[in-house]
Amino acid sequence: MRLESEGFDVVVPPGWEVRVSRQTENLHGGASTPVLHAATFALPEERGDYGSGCVEIMGPEDVFVSLLEFGDEAVHSALFPPGELPRSIDPQAFRTNGMQRWMPGQSAYQKFFTEGDRAFCLYVVIGDHSRRVALARTVRSLLLSIRLQPVAPPGAM
């Protein structure tokens, strides 16, 4: 199944659930920007941008991914250097203290980058840090399926 919305183009891998919406919070006070949520479990209707409402219900074999876009002011800023959406994550890069809110057994990975003049934060939570090698492979199956479409030039329809 293919999902195209807000400049995200995703060929949803089997067993994954994906939602693309507008962020509920905007730390920079700008216009609401898109966010992609993906999970290997049923995504709840009420979700925080960084997975609150999701990480509480995910099981040890589950993965939650949030890909948040930030406004123009963030593009190529110090926090969002030029880069690309990672296609795989080193299992050792997951940190139990990298969570927005500590959850027993879980760990997280976070990366800020600018790709195609769009600034993003990739935030990934795995359900069991001790299974990070296998779960990193699961994450890879989703990351490989995402294409970030470039920003349309001004005036383009």
Binding site: M1, R2, L3, E4, S5, E6, F8, V10, V12, P14, G15, W16, E17, V18, R19, V20, S21, F41, A42, L43, P44, E45, E46
Partner: protein, 247 residues
């Protein structure tokens, strides 16, 4: 005078035939009404032969496996819901904003935790914005359950009309129950029946496995009591083979 009497007789005969015809027609109507269950008796028969439920949709023309559902929500989010291969069961409810019967389900699903949905995820699917108004669906959408507007999902599941429900077992990707209903109570009963039917073979298999294990344990104990242990040569003799005569 004679002519007048004959004419009067003919008229009376014709009127008699007319009355007889009317009585016969009346009797025919009563008989047909009785057959349809609309008896003029004060206490009608307790159970008619057929239960016509005009608001219930006929079953699908063919069966399908479970399909993931993708589309947009009434709040314009893009959404892809995992059903096939999910670790849970999903009740896919195909509803519309216009059908009268659907309104009972929109209301039932609006309850915080509709009884009967324990362990089952509810996903509501409507037609897309070419046939439904997102604002109308938004006003009906229950809190806490995904609502997907997707014409593809209706095609994938060969849905004959609304309301229609498909219960999918994610791990096996099988449709374990489906159909239409006129109320949530009716649907809940159908679901419970489908779940019971689905679990019966597995229970039976478990019972058989347990019985086999118990029988094996009994046999082992009886052999041990007779002094026959693993590898004993007597275990490999053919009881049908005649013993060789002593020479």
């Amino acid at each position: 005078m004679t002519v007048l009497v004959i004419a009067e007789g003919v008229v009376i005969l014709l009127l008699g035939l007319l009355v007889a015809g009317l009585l016969r027609s009346h009797a025919e109507i009563l008989r047909k009404l009785h057959e349809l269950g609309a008896s003029i008796e004060e206490h009608p028969p307790s159970q008619p032969d057929l239960d016509f439920s005009p608001n219930v949709v006929s079953p699908r023309s063919d069966t399908t496996p479970g399909h993931d559902v993708g589309g947009v929500t009434p709040t314009d989010e893009a959404i892809a819901v995992s059903i096939s291969g999910a670790r849970h069961r999903t009740l896919v409810a195909f509803l519309s904003s216009g059908c009268l019967t659907c309104s009972a389900f929109w209301e039932a699903f609006a309850a915080d935790q509709p009884a009967g949905l324990e362990g089952i995820r509810l996903v509501i699917v409507t037609k897309d914005r070419t046939e439904e108004s997102p604002s109308r669906i938004r006003s009906l959408a229950p809190h806490g359950h995904p609502v997907v507007m997707s014409n593809d999902a209706w095609s994938d599941y060969l849905v004959p009309g609304s309301p229609y429900f498909v219960l999918v077992d994610g791990p096996t990707n099988r449709v374990i129950g489906e159909g239409s209903a006129s109320s949530w109570d009716q649907l809940r009963n159908l679901m419970q029946q489908a779940l019971a039917d689905d679990s019966a073979p597995r229970r039976s298999h478990r019972r058989r496995a347990r019985a086999t294990a118990e029988r094996d344990a009994r046999d082992e104990a009886a052999l041990a009591a007779a002094g026959i242990g693993p590898g004993d040569p007597s275990l490999y003799e053919n009881p049908e083979e005649p013993e060789e005569p002593d020479v």
